[in-house]
Symmetry: C2
Amino acid sequence: MTEEQHQFIEGLGQHMTTWGLARTIGRIYGYLLLRMEPASLDEIAEALGIAKSGASVAARQLVALGLARSRSQPGSRRVLFEALYSLEAIFAARNSQAMDLLARLRQGARVAPEGPVREQLHEMADMLQGFLNLGPEVMRQLRERERSRT
Amino acid sequence: MTEEQHQFIEGLGQHMTTWGLARTIGRIYGYLLLRMEPASLDEIAEALGIAKSGASVAARQLVALGLARSRSQPGSRRVLFEALYSLEAIFAARNSQAMDLLARLRQGARVAPEGPVREQLHEMADMLQGFLNLGPEVMRQLRERERSRT
DNA sequence: GCTAATATTCAGAAAGATCTGAATATCCAG
DNA sequence: CTGGATATTCAGATCTTTCTGAATATTAGC
């Protein structure tokens, strides 16, 4: 593991932090990305210098987020984790955050004193709604571009 | 301030948390949104039950994020804050986060062992790049729709 | 310049998030 | 059914973030 690879791992940990996730989750993701081979909990814990228990929890969160998957080999209790090289999960997560915000804005509009405030809140919500509606189309385009490139 | 309005404020605080911002920032934003009238630090602190110093810091962060603005009235030291009813600032912030991620992925690709890992990382980066490129077009469409609606 | 009004800074307190290690649970092979 | 390999849980320790209140700085009006 070179110094620069280490930087990548730490940097990704740092970045995950900006989405409100624990640093360790991003670090594990970085480790798995660089490694490509599935890794066991012991390997992860060893490589990152964290307790195995923590690795277990964080790795499962990574799976829950859709950024990695776990595979168990027949004939062993051992679980291996491998990175998924795809950002769709991230987009999906963003999307559901945005939907949450949308719901909150609508609730705000409902309870705001009637008059201009209420209208403004509805406008914000409408704009966000419009944005969300564009989502599938954008995804389609991206996937298409992807397909044609390969 | 009704119970439901209070819920809106708290809910927005909760939501901000998912972007890694302090809860108080979102609460202030919610308060300002519902109120529409500019509010002084004393009012904010009073309404949310927080120290004025904290209100000061958080309100300025809100301004820095582009979600509110401060105005000082001539003849007084008092600073008033008012919400901006626009999500563009949020999109912009997201965008710059995404650019940060893009840079990290490229760095990862650079330092990855050559072979399939490196290619995969480049693919992820390319996809994100594609997404970012679509941004301006999406914004244009949204604004246009907005204009035609009003 | 001085005073009153107000905002800002910052050290430390309080609250919250994350990580560790020991204890426990689960599964596999024989 | 037992023993060993492994994963998971969870109470408490540690680290981080956020908030408070006193001290300080800034500005307006006289």
